[in-house]
């Protein structure tokens, strides 16, 4: 308890000064607040905003560790030190410490930069406007390293975080007021600002960019090339990974989004702890399946021939779309962000369905943006309030009608 008391004393000491939000934030991050509301009637719940955020972080930690192993694994495959495995999820080639340390030292700086810059801005605005530091960045800060390519330069990440937090959130009034998901906004900023670091075959496997430089300088080495499956399909190349590899996540991609298996476990955790909305998760999966199924039928009916540049992406089994790219990650962790999603239950179905539907649409029809889920979620973020509006209005109308029938 000593730490708690000390923190509380510090908080009291700095009360009213510019620094008070900082101590307040640390205090409430670690402990329950000392003072509670005294007047009015309240429903007491065990979870507050902070607890909610922490649950999401817990659900993300397995992905983070998997991403560290996968980073080293992909690097070792590319350099030829490890053979590609097909012996199930617990293969020793994947879960080796040397894999882990490579990923650890690459991903740790991303996490540090994300949190230091993001929380720095939060604290700055809190001190400036004299309110408490809000918890909103806790989840964003861990999401950001998980959805970027592993070799992204740290200064780019810092610039993007500044943009995402200031323009995406603080401008609108801070946590809970933002229209767009800040983590996705940060990724979208990186994607449009520095496309050479966000797509192509050089950014997904750590070491590929340096290797390219060494070769350019005259070193006799094989180039490392690690195209994501979506990128390969968009260019009509052969896919070398098995479906199980895709499901387990032994494929190149952004840091934390490759393992559909672990995302599924995270989804179950979020559903059972009632943090994430199962309606949104389910409906976006359904939306993706429907769109994928339509494309499969278009192929089956022979409307599009093999010469079409959309053929390869349309031709993959409709359910395989769920395993590829960031779709699963986006649908489970991003679309369900309670601030930017639809609030009404009916609205959630529509919102989720359209996210899935549009993700696959963008994925197939725009090879320049193989990761459609990012853009689909951002688009639907914008429409979420409109969806809610019509759902609520529809409800009002229905009840008015009922009232009329009764009075007549």
């Amino acid at each position: 308890m000593a730490l708690k008391d000390n923190l509380h004393n510090l908080k009291e000491k700095f009360k009213g000064t510019k620094m008070s939000p900082v101590f307040g934030a640390f205090h409430t991050f670690l402990y329950m607040p000392n003072d509670t509301t005294q007047s009015g009637s309240h429903i007491r719940g065990a979870d507050d905003l902070k607890r909610t955020m922490n649950m999401v972080i817990i659900a993300l930690i397995p992905l983070l560790f998997f991403g560290m192993f996968n980073a080293g694994y992909q690097h070792h495959i590319a350099t030829g030190e490890v053979e590609m495995v097909s012996s199930g999820f617990f293969s020793a080639e994947f879960w080796s410490l040397s894999n882990f340390w490579i990923g650890f030292w690459k991903i740790l700086p991303l996490i540090i930069v994300s949190y230091v810059v993001g929380l720095g801005i939060e604290i700055f605005f809190a001190a400036k406007n004299g309110h408490e530091v809000e918890e909103g960045y806790l989840v964003t800060g861990i999401l950001v390293p998980l959805i970027v390519p592993i070799d992204i330069p740290l200064w780019m990440l810092a610039v993007a975080v500044i943009f995402g937090v200031v323009i995406g959130k603080e401008v609108f009034g801070g946590t809970g007021m933002n229209i767009l998901n800040p983590a996705l906004l940060i990724r979208a900023f990186l994607f449009f600002a520095y496309p050479t670091w966000m797509s192509g075959d050089k950014v997904w496997v750590t070491g590929a960019v340096e290797r390219t430089k060494e070769i350019a300088d005259g070193a006799q080495l094989d180039a490392i090339s690690g195209e994501t499956i979506l990128g390969a399909l968009a260019q009509g190349q052969e896919v070398v990974y098995s479906t199980w590899d895709m499901f387990y996540g032994f494929i190149p991609g952004s840091v934390g989004e490759t393992s559909t298996l672990l995302i599924l476990l995270g989804a179950l955790f979020l559903i059972f702890s009632k943090i994430g909305s199962w309606r949104i998760m389910l409906s976006s999966v359904v939306g993706a399946l429907v769109m994928g199924f339509i494309f499969n039928q278009v192929i089956a009916l022979g409307w599009i021939g093999e010469s079409s540049k959309f053929y390869d992406l349309m031709n993959i089994e409709f359910w395989e779309h769920l395993l590829l790219g960031g779709f699963a990650f986006g649908a489970i962790y991003m679309a369900t962000d309670p601030v930017t999603a639809s609030q009404t239950n009916k609205g959630k179905w529509i919102y989720g369905f359209l996210i899935g539907f549009i993700s696959i649409l963008i994925r197939v029809f725009n090879p320049a943006y193989p990761e459609g889920v990012m853009l689909a979620i951002l688009l639907m973020n914008v429409f979420a309030p409109t969806i809610d509006h019509y759902v609520v209005q529809g409800n009002v109308k229905r009840r008015q009608k009922r009232l009329k029938v009764k009075t007549v």
Partner: protein
């Protein structure tokens, strides 16, 4: 300011800051977003608007007592259209490359809200001399924002200013590029122009809180 009376000087200085057509009245946004990817285009666009607005204001002001108010919009359009065509032809004759960059947006000066706005709000009710000053002031206010936005978008987006590589060569990796810096391609797209204008509006209103609108 011996040359102008205090009131006249205000016609020029007011639109530069506290009554800026872009950041306060939020007019003429379309062109501010569309052509500010390069500083040069911003400057040329500013000069074109300066010409059209100041001359147009004088013409409308001279005609103000004989225009029937029912058809005044048509008359205003004809005046703008004439002036814009002059600008367009001059650009095509003397700066063909630039006129290609500006493309349709020179023609679209006709629909620039600032111009019609000033005709309606000022030139129709004031003497030619005042209308001229008002035209100069408002187009300078427009120019200031365009040039600020153009400066940042070209500097951060392409690493150049007026086509000169001020940050070093991105391909040879000289200057700041040697440290791993890279151009921000997003700055060249229209959304970042909107964000840049938004930041200017933010800075301006937080420095002078009297400008913040009530809701």
């Amino acid at each position: 300011m011996g040359l102008l009376s205090k009131k006249d000087a205000k016609l020029i200085t007011d639109p530069l800051a506290d009554n800026n057509p872009i950041t306060i009245q939020v007019l003429g946004i379309c062109s501010a977003l569309a052509i500010t990817a390069e500083l040069e285009a911003s400057i040329v666009m500013s000069i074109a608007v300066l010409f059209v607005l100041s001359v147009g204001n004088v013409v409308i002001s001279l005609l103000r007592n004989i225009i029937p108010s029912k058809i005044r919009i048509i008359v205003q359009l004809i005046v703008v259209a004439t002036l814009v065509i002059i600008v367009d032809l001059v650009l095509k004759a003397f700066a063909y490359e630039l006129s290609k960059t500006l493309s349709v947006f020179v023609g679209l000066i006709i629909t620039n809200c600032i111009i019609m706005g000033r005709f309606e709000a000022f030139a129709l009710a004031n003497a030619p001399g005042k209308a001229f000053l008002d035209g100069i002031g408002n187009s300078l206010g427009y120019a200031v924002i365009l040039i600020i936005v153009g400066f940042f978008r070209e500097l951060l987006g392409s690493g150049t200013l007026l086509g000169i590589q001020v940050l070093g060569d991105p391909i040879e990796k000289t200057g700041v590029y040697a440290f791993g810096y890279e151009n921000n391609g997003f700055m060249l797209l229209a959304p970042m122009a909107l964000v840049t204008v938004g930041i200017i509006i933010w800075v301006q209103r937080s420095r002078n809180t009297a400008l913040v609108e009530d809701h």
